[in-house]
């Protein structure tokens, strides 16, 4: 089975102090650590597990600048066979739709049975690119997949719904699945592992290689534009408990007695 995985390199912001940059349209990324988008790490792991089970190839694709090679190499070190980077100054400003067009055109050039993407990216959080790619390619899809089982020319996928419920769908191949976190345990990649794939060629493709016109990509090929970013308004906010840990602990204990009925 030939599997394509679409991935993205993103800044880690969960534990970071985030500041808005001078353009007012993005955060200042200078002090941030970048890594493979969390959802994508589960998608690539799932592809490699499938390959290990039933053979075939895993091709990993990313749209981005040279920095993205780092994440592509991580995927190669995890066990992907080939890596392709889609890059062109014309791609700048692409929204989820334009990004999907670029990915879909690249995928058309490669034989595949299954495409995996993350359900969403940690940075822009559109949650739309995977399903859009599927529709552009005219293949069926399932989003938010937490378990999958390939059976010959079709597969069974569990989709995560709300409130702990899942639904099981059966889909004919070729198909696209967007992968939800927790589906597997992404393997650890050592520095040695990355070094081993350091010289592996990463193919690059641009607008002219992809049967796309400049006006179909980037901002001109997009449906939405980001005008500015701002810090979310803070709600009423918590009463901050300050002092020595012992003093704070006493206050917490009093709150627990008062509000939680702690005996």
């Amino acid at each position: 089975m030939n599997i394509i995985v679409c991935i993205k390199r993103v800044p880690e912001t969960t534990d970071a102090d985030v500041f808005i940059d001078k353009t007012g349209k993005d955060i200042d990324k200078s002090g941030l650590v970048f890594d493979l988008n969390e959802w994508d790490s589960y998608a690539i792991e799932e592809a490699i597990l499938l390959k290990e089970k039933s053979g075939g190839t895993v091709t990993v694709i990313s749209m981005g600048g040279e920095d993205s090679n780092e994440s592509l190499r991580k995927c190669l070190a995890m066990g992907a066979d080939d890596a392709i980077r889609l890059t062109d100054p014309a791609f700048n400003g692409s929204d989820g739709y334009a990004t999907a067009k670029i990915l879909a055109e690249a995928i058309r050039k490669i034989p595949y049975d299954l495409i995996l993407t993350g359900t969403q990216a940690e940075d822009d959080g559109y949650g739309q690119v995977g399903v859009t790619v599927a529709e552009l390619l005219g293949i069926p899809h399932a989003s938010l997949v937490t378990r999958l089982e390939v059976q010959d020319k079709k597969l069974k996928a569990h989709r995560e719904l709300e409130g702990g419920l899942e639904e099981v769908v059966e889909i004919d191949l070729p198909a696209l699945l967007t992968i939800q976190t927790g589906i597997n345990e992404p393997r650890y990649v050592s520095i040695m592992g990355i070094r081993k794939v350091a010289k592996k060629e990463i193919k690059t493709l641009g607008t002219s290689d992809l049967n796309l016109k400049a006006e179909e990509v980037g901002l001109s090929g997009s449906y939405i534009r980001l005008e500015k970013i701002f810090l979310p308004p803070v709600g009423e906010g918590a009463e901050m408990l300050e002092g020595k840990p012992e003093e704070i602990s006493s206050k917490v204990f009093d709150i627990l007695k008062d509000k939680g009925g702690l005996a």
């Binding site: 534990d15 940690e122 959080g125 995977g130 989709r159 719904l161 769908v169 449906y223 534009r225």
Partner: protein
Amino acid sequence: MKKIIALAEHRQGELRDITWEILAKGRQLAEGMGAETEVALLGKDVKKLAEALKPKANRVLLIEDDRLEAFNSETYQKVLTQLITERKPFLTLIGHTAMGMDIAPALAVQLKMPLATDCIGIDATGETFALTRQLYGGKVNAAVSFLKSGPYMITLRSGAFPVVEKEPFPGEIVSIPSPLTEEGLAKRFLQYVEAAVGEVDITQADILVSVGRGIKEAENIPLVKELADLLGGALSCSRPVVDKKWLPKDRQVGTSGKTVKPKVYIAIGISGAFQHIAGMKGAGTVIAINKDPKAPIFGVANYGIVADLFKFVPVLKEKVKGMKKS
């Protein structure tokens, strides 16, 4: 007359809350631009749901078909493509939910409609929309606009739009024949799988001690488990802890886990992603412990403690032990 179509979301015989949220926002937008709201209801034997929706929109567009019994993006896409092409709404509103995420992007491509996903704010001036989305997991908000002309499609985040009670519409239910045929489907719904029942029901606890990504390692879980035990409460967690298999799924609080309403909820090392907050905002009192003073959890907590949990929790445990003895 100009129209806004909202897609009703229901599952296992019940309308989901997002439906009322979309309809409330749809109505507000419609009133602002002199438009009508219509709600599309797809299903099998769902007349009762149609009656419930009737007061909330100018019209309920009811499409019933045995093949629409459970949601399937493929059947929904066929029905909605035809419906939207015929009714020509200026705006289509869908929830950014497990259902909406599975249907909206594909439907928008087929209808060649600009789509903005996961919006938490929608304002309209005439036919121009000013949208608000979140980036970087909610660390920043973004003002977003459409680049192309309408009609448009927008997906709305659950819980982001308040349900405002308004004068009911006289309403009408319009039955529309289903365009579905016997033609085979590439995607087939098989069944629902209910969540496994665990040893502890976190929805019943008066005190919940909840742990998040900040706990760092599986080995550190006992630290918070012991605190929960000392307090006679239960241990729960946020999504990353379940994703990493440190705790079972039945302990997860949030949109895809459980909705809890304990008397006191102690969030330890939980940053407060909106999916998590959606599951615990009904708690009586929320105490949050996090080392990041800007963590969104402090926005919903009643009491906040900025501290390294590995330093603070042991002190708290000792205090509780001592106080309980005295």
